[in-house]
Structure formats: structure tokens, C-alpha cells
């Protein structure tokens, strides 16, 4: 059973850029599905379309078996936690105010909100700065605040666009464990990342996208079985046919020393 399905999804921006070309993806319920691709491959466009920040040009999207349209969008969003690769948050609020606001939007009980905020502060290692404004946070701390905001209402689906970008190694491990724990409790996760170790550590399934076209999607184990003895990086280069690209060098760099 799939939690996200797209059928011939296309996105062409007004400047003529074709970001997505007939994308058909299937994210299994209960899976942690990774999405990888080069910069500009269409990952963020796809994720932003799934949360209705960007309009699709054509095609169909189903989330929780509901068509993603004006009628269903609010009920779909009630069960989604989203982290954008831009810092989309009320940055003039403190992290406690920010999580409290999100809890209110999702109509959580006041005591629940309070308890969850205390847990999040502890786990995200933000308990030293609960009243500091988010805009005064470092990139990593901002990211933690956003992840906390996506988790506070215990959603059924997490859509995370480069969630661990800029986060310190210790917090990375903590957040990975939290995501694993959420997944164990039935939360499906769809995440994009440039850090392939994150994909290796977390994902059960993988989608590779290149120039708006899906090049691979399946169970990650199957991928490793097919390309035995290759690392995920090498597999990615092979599938996206970028071998020529990685051999490039700067001529003046070779003359040093």
C-alpha cells in the first residue's frame, strides 16, 4: 500500500524550466524512502508540490489515498510534518513559542503541547536557549527547531527536504534515532538528502531522480544486490550516468607543488 503516489507528474516553471517530467513515484506506507539527485534535479520541486507550496503543471498526486486538490488539501496537511530546505518558519518567535503555535494549529491539548515541547527541548539539545529567537539561531539550531515543529503533532507522514543539513554530528545521530523510532511506530518518512550516509543509515527504499526524471525506485537492498561491491555514491554516478562529470579538474590545480 502506498502513502504517496504520483501519476505522470509534470512541472514546468514560467521561465520554461522543466523541473519534473512525467514523474511516477510510489512511497510505501511505513517505509523510509530516500530521494537523491544532483542540485536542480527536481527534489525540492517535488517535495514542495507534495505540500502544495508549488503548483503542479499536470498529473495526479494521491496522498493517504486522497487526491491532492483544494478540497482535500487541509485534511491531508493535518497528518503531514514538513521540513523545507529553505528556513520556512516564524523566525521572530522563540523556539518554545514556535512549537507552541504549531501545536495550537494542530489543535493539541495544552498539557500535551507543554510536555512535548519539554521533550523536544531536551532531545534537540535546545534547552539552554528556549527563549532565544529562532532568527538568532545558527543554521543547525534552526534546522532542529524546524524538525521539532514537524514532529510535535506526531504526523502519519514526514516530508523532509534535506533535514540534517548543517546539524552537528551528535544531534545528527539523535535525530536519526528519533526518525527511526517514529518510523517504528508507523510513521512513513519521505526525505531528500545529499548526505548519502543518511540514506544508508535510515532508508528502506530509494528514489533516484535526474533532470526531473526518475532513474530508479525500489527497495535499497535490491539496489545493493544489483550493484554488488559498489558504494551508494558509485551506484548513483552509474545510474545517473555522470562518470564523465566526476573526472573534471581545474587545470591550474595540477601545476601546484
Amino acid at each position: 500500500m502506498f502513502i504517496i503516489e504520483t501519476n505522470n507528474l509534470n512541472k514546468t516553471y514560467k521561465n520554461g524550466t522543466n523541473a519534473l517530467n512525467n514523474i511516477n513515484i510510489h512511497v510505501k506506507k511505513g517505509s523510509i524512502t530516500g530521494l537523491i539527485g544532483e542540485n536542480g534535479a527536481g527534489k525540492s520541486t517535488l517535495m514542495n508540490i507534495l505540500v502544495s507550496l508549488i503548483n503542479k503543471t499536470s498529473g495526479d498526486i494521491t496522498i493517504f489515498n486522497l487526491d491532492l486538490n483544494n478540497k482535500n488539501i487541509l485534511s491531508i496537511k493535518k497528518d503531514i510534518g514538513f521540513v523545507s530546505n529553505q528556513i520556512l518558519a516564524y523566525e521572530h518567535l522563540s523556539v518554545v513559542e514556535y512549537w507552541n503555535f504549531i501545536g495550537t494549529v494542530y489543535k493539541l491539548d495544552k498539557n500535551d503541547i507543554k510536555n512535548r515541547i519539554n521533550d523536544l527541548l531536551d532531545v534537540m539539545d535546545l534547552s539552554k536557549s528556549p527563549n532565544k529567537l529562532i532568527r538568532e539561531f545558527s543554521k543547525g539550531m534552526k534546522q532542529k527547531a524546524l524538525i521539532g515543529g514537524a514532529l510535535i503533532h506526531n504526523p502519519k507522514l514526514l516530508i523532509l527536504d534535506e533535514p540534517l543539513d548543517g546539524i552537528d554530528p551528535t544531534s545528527k545521530i539523535v535525530i536519526k534515532n528519533i526518525l527511526k523510532q517514529f518510523n517504528k511506530n508507523g510513521v512513513s518518512i519521505f526525505l531528500s538528502a545529499h548526505d548519502l550516509s543518511l540514506i544508508n543509515d535510515l532508508c528502506t527504499d530509494l528514489i533516484i531522480i535526474d533532470n526531473g526524471i526518475v532513474k530508479f525506485q525500489d527497495n535499497i537492498e535490491k539496489l545493493y544486490n544489483k550493484y554488488k561491491e559498489l558504494s551508494l555514491e558509485e551506484i548513483f554516478i552509474k545510474i545517473t550516468n555522470k562518470t564523465n562529470k566526476i573526472n573534471k579538474n581545474l587545470s591550474w590545480g595540477e601545476t601546484n607543488g
Binding site: 507550496l53 483544494n70 487541509l74 485534511s75 528556513i87 516564524y90 523566525e91 521572530h92 494549529v105
Partner: protein, 230 residues
């Protein structure tokens, strides 16, 4: 829904009060200069007090006519709007929170000016009986703000491009605001009669403007894309 609207308004108020110190200092200096000017020239205004009052009221209307635009898609507000649209927040709550906050700001400004004029003996205390007309004008102003936002919801262009662009945008803004302000003053304040009919018309017009804006924002993705592409 009431709780959500209240929270949305509170967050917008926090944006204002948590701006950098420079903005607050600028604001305090402006208020001081205005007060000093007023104290100095105040007694000479007695003859024209009603007109000066209308001039200041026009400034409030100017501010109100682009209020939802400023609160939603200005340079500082756009990311907040995008963030809100990732959450299950319906267009109704979004628009109501912005309109209600605008109304509170405008009416506070109006009463402060009214109070200053009455305390300075520039207007008689009986002027306060005309308050309902001014409130009706504010409702009409917010309705116009909704319609302008529906038609022209592009991001803040004042800091983009050349000085020519700045002048062009400024002139356009001045023209649009002047026309609508004059219209409101003419419709509501040209005579202090038929209050009920004017009030009813402004409420109907507000509901109409609310509905057409709600219809526009219901497709949030499309709406955001239009803002970014303009």
C-alpha cells in the same frame, strides 16, 4: 478557529515588536517630530481643524488600503506566509486574522488622533458622535485592501531594480491609493447622513471582498506561485 485567528494576529504583532532596534528608534524619532510640530502649529490649525483631521484620516486610509498586502507578501512577511501555508490553515482564518489586525491598528490610530484633536481643543467633543462614520470608512478601506490584494498580490518591489523602478512603483501606489481614499471619503464622509445604509453597504462590500479573496487563496500553491512569478 477563534483561537487560531488570535494566534495568527499575535504572531504578526510580535513581528513588529521584535524588529531591530533601528526600526524602533526611527519610529520614536518620527513620533517625537510629529508631536513637536503639532504642538508648535496646533493653535494655528483651529480654523482648518476639520480638514487637517481629514488629511490625517486619509493617511490612515492610505495605510489600510495596502494592509493585507503588507502583512502577507512584503519582504519580511512572505516567508511567514509560505510557512503558514505548509500548515493546515484555511484561507478564511488567514484573511480574517490579517483584516482584524488591520482594523485594530487603524481604529487605534484613529482614536489616538481623535483624542489629540479633542484634547487640543481643535475639535469639539461632539465630533466623537461621527466616529461610526469613520469606522464605516475603515471597513470599506479594508474591503478595498482585500480586492487590491486579489488583483495585485506581487511581492514587495520597492527594493528591487533601479531608481526608475522605485519611482514607477511609488507613483502607481500613490495613484491607486489616492483614487480609493478619495472614493471612500466621498462615499462615507461627504455628508453625515444615512449612516445605517452606509454601514450596511460597507459590510456587504466587505463580505463580497472577503469571498473573492478567499476564492483566490483557496489554491494556496497557485497563489504563492503568482506572488513569486510577478
Amino acid at each position: 478557529m477563534v483561537n487560531l485567528i488570535f494566534n495568527l494576529m499575535l504572531n504578526d504583532i510580535k513581528i513588529y515588536f521584535r524588529q531591530d532596534k533601528k526600526t524602533h528608534i526611527n519610529f520614536i524619532i518620527t513620533v517625537l517630530i510629529f508631536t513637536l510640530m503639532f504642538i508648535n502649529i496646533g493653535p494655528n490649525l483651529k480654523k482648518y481643524s476639520e480638514n487637517v483631521f481629514l488629511l490625517l484620516f486619509s493617511a490612515i486610509l492610505f495605510q489600510g488600503a495596502y494592509s493585507i498586502n503588507t502583512l502577507s507578501v512584503s519582504q519580511h512577511a512572505l516567508n511567514n506566509t509560505k510557512f503558514l501555508f505548509t500548515l493546515p490553515i484555511n484561507s478564511k482564518s488567514f484573511i480574517l486574522s490579517k483584516n482584524l489586525l488591520t482594523f485594530i491598528i487603524l481604529i487605534t490610530e484613529f482614536f489616538i488622533i481623535e483624542l489629540i484633536f479633542i484634547l487640543s481643543d481643535l475639535l469639539p467633543i461632539t465630533h466623537i458622535t461621527k466616529c461610526l462614520y469613520f469606522i464605516t470608512a475603515l471597513i470599506l478601506d479594508i474591503s478595498i485592501s482585500n480586492i487590491l490584494f486579489k488583483i495585485d498580490h506581487k511581492r514587495d518591489n520597492f527594493n528591487v531594480g533601479s531608481n526608475v523602478n522605485l519611482i514607477k512603483e511609488g507613483f502607481k501606489l500613490l495613484f491607486v491609493l489616492s483614487v480609493f481614499t478619495a472614493l471612500i471619503l466621498f462615499v462615507i464622509l461627504n455628508s453625515y447622513r444615512n449612516f445605517i445604509s452606509k454601514f450596511v453597504i460597507s459590510i456587504i462590500f466587505y463580505i463580497f471582498s472577503f469571498k473573492i479573496l478567499e476564492k483566490k487563496i483557496i489554491n494556496q500553491a497557485n497563489f504563492l506561485e503568482e506572488i513569486d512569478s510577478q
